[in-house]
């Protein structure tokens, strides 16, 4: 961990910021809130059933093993697969790394990896790492709404291809990909190519049935379904072989050594269960809140652009809008002082000169990407939360625009 910037007391900064009277947390992309029921069951698991190590032969081990098994059965039934097909990791990032790196040691004649240009960095970076080991990495282009170019995919996938990885829902712009179409194109070319989908942002937002989807690998992250952070899973279809990528004492699972985070997994499972049980209701609610945000912002604030598709092909929770003539980090900090927490694809937020690779891949100009805000609504939000955001946002944008030397040609809002 880097603490160099903590030479200055952070308390002073927090105090100067002050605690806003009203808060609306919309930064579920970076870190999801947690269901109270999940916290409660985790607390119980820490105290009772999850005390022991689930691979040890004594009472505490058996009880813990049982808790783990029940949690896994629950998740398996929600995504329609068998419990044996679920491998736990300690994050979605690790699940993606396991899918990409874990498949690379398998075959000597498949040296091509295809990932879309808008994948999460936990897919892109491991793929790029494989280039060092002689793999050829091809990034599949996407259109202006983020849909992968299927003709390109079809032209480039062949019997030398090891794996194709495309997220079911894009984390930044909410594009819902046609994974079945991608699967059919790939299988049609060669049955032996592995198909991976990063489903971290798709779970609970679109129906996910592993039997029907019929991919080889799918990644999940607990905090994305409002479970605890630091828990992830990889679905590995029966018969698909992977090599472990970290090594140590194996526990109940073959691909991820170390003691399972049983209370965390139980919490993850509970979150999946809640999302599954209330699926329709949640999706309708989130879609309604999303539409309120998008239509009001686009209608009432000038010089705004929606990033990603409109309507049914957009994730129910995703709002990503570029506010031109605004820099995203300034907007983020200004909104924070009003108690609204969001994130931005600006370069400032990522600490490099380049803004979000996803926004650049859909053809946004640098200055359009710098002014982007990502807001994710959740089942926790109410209409009144969204109204508060809509009340605050126009003034915030107006103030940040008023600071800039470059003003829009027409009079700003």
């Amino acid at each position: 961990m880097t603490y160099s910037d903590l030479s200055r007391p952070i308390d002073e900064l927090i105090k100067s910021h002050g605690l806003p009277e009203r808060e609306v947390y919309l930064d579920h992309e970076n870190s999801g809130l947690i269901f109270p029921e999940v916290l409660e069951i985790m607390d119980n698991t820490y105290r009772l059933s999850g005390k022991g190590h689930p691979s040890i032969t004594h009472l505490m081990g058996w009880i813990s093993y049982q808790a783990l098994y029940e949690a896994t059965t629950n998740i398996a039934s929600a995504i329609n697969c068998s419990p044996e097909e679920i491998v736990y990791t300690h994050s979605g990032t690790e699940a993606n790394n396991l899918a990409i790196m874990g498949s690379s040691g398998l075959s000597s004649n498949r040296k091509k990896v295809l990932v879309s240009r808008i994948e999460h960095l936990s897919v892109i970076f491991p793929a790029e790492k494989l280039e060092k080991y002689g793999f050829k990495v091809i990034k599949i282009p996407v259109d202006e709404e983020g849909f992968v170019n299927l003709d390109f995919l079809s032209e480039h996938v062949d019997k030398e291809t090891l794996i194709v990885s495309v997220a079911a829902i894009n984390h930044e712009i909410g594009t819902i990909q046609d994974i079945k179409a991608i699967r059919d194109i790939v299988r049609d070319k060669d049955e032996g190519v592995l198909i991976h989908t990063d489903a971290c942002d798709a779970l609970g937002r679109i129906p996910l049935d592993m039997k029907k989807l019929d991919v080889d690998l799918a990644s999940f992250s607990s905090h994305k379904v409002y479970g605890p952070k630091g828990v992830g899973a990889l679905y590995v279809k029966e018969g698909v072989k992977l090599e472990p990528i970290i090594h140590g004492q194996l526990s109940t699972q073959k691909l991820w050594p170390g003691v399972e985070n049983v209370p965390g997994i139980v919490g993850f499972s509970k979150a999946v269960e809640i999302m599954h049980r209330n699926f329709r209701e949640n999706v309708l609610k989130m879609t309604d809140l999303r539409e309120r945000l998008i239509s009001s912002i686009l209608n009432n604030i000038e010089h705004t652009l929606l990033n990603g598709p409109f309507g049914d092909k957009r994730a129910p929770d995703n709002v990503n809008i570029s506010f031109l003539y605004c820099e995203g980090e300034a907007l983020t900090v200004e909104l924070s002082m009003k108690g609204i927490y969001v994130s931005s694809g600006s370069a400032c937020t990522s600490r490099v000169l380049e803004p979000s690779h996803v926004l650049l891949a859909i053809g946004r100009k640098h200055e359009e990407a710098h002014g982007s805000l990502l807001m994710k609504v959740s089942p926790f939000h109410t209409t009144s939360d969204i109204e508060y955001v809509l009340e605050i946002l126009p003034d915030t944008v107006r103030r940040i625009r008023s600071l800039s030397p470059i003003k829009p040609l027409r009079k700003v809002i």
């Binding site: 300034a330 900090v333 640098h366």
Partner: protein, 166 residues
């Protein structure tokens, strides 16, 4: 690849971001300059009103497109130069700006650099039609070079992005 920690701005940065001092333009400025660009996500404009006989800066204002640190750096710099001679203002470095702000986080040093870069460009602009004083170097200073590099790099990156889309 570097790690990411939240930017622990000093409270001065937050104060100036909230209530920036000297925001705006000077209509009868006798020197002004811009550094950075929209594409960089960082841009500072400095406007100076200079008393021609004493060469003192009587008024300074700024506009900024950028993060909180960028806005605070430009604002504090206009405070620092007011009442100073051009020669003394020329000597202000990005470190002085950072210090005035209670120390910028390292990833935000370039905000101080950009602010000083735009000030020095404005001072150069003032002397384009006047006799150049001895203290004004012909060679670009570190801060001016940095601003130029950032602007050029962005042009290259923007072209690269355009080509990748084709």
């Amino acid at each position: 690849m570097s790690s990411r920690v939240p930017l622990t701005y000093g409270k001065k940065v937050l104060e100036l971001f909230r209530n920036p001092k000297n925001l705006g333009r000077i209509e009868d400025a006798n020197a002004e300059a811009i550094a950075g660009s929209l594409a960089c996500g960082d841009m500072i404009a400095i406007y100076l009103k200079i008393d021609e006989s004493t060469e003192k800066i009587v008024d300074a204002k700024f506009e900024s497109y950028g993060c909180a640190a960028n806005i605070a750096a430009a604002s504090i710099l206009t405070e620092m130069v007011k009442g100073k001679t051009l020669q003394d203002s020329w000597k202000i470095s990005w470190k002085d700006v950072s210090n005035e702000l209670g120390g910028l986080p390292s990833v935000k040093y370039h905000c101080g650099v950009l602010a000083v870069g735009s000030l020095r460009r404005a001072i150069r602009a003032y002397y384009t039609n006047r006799a150049k004083p001895d203290w004004l170097s012909d060679e670009l200073t570190q801060e001016e070079k940095h601003a130029l590099e950032e602007e050029k790099l962005m042009e290259v990156l923007a072209k690269k992005a355009k080509r990748a889309m084709l």
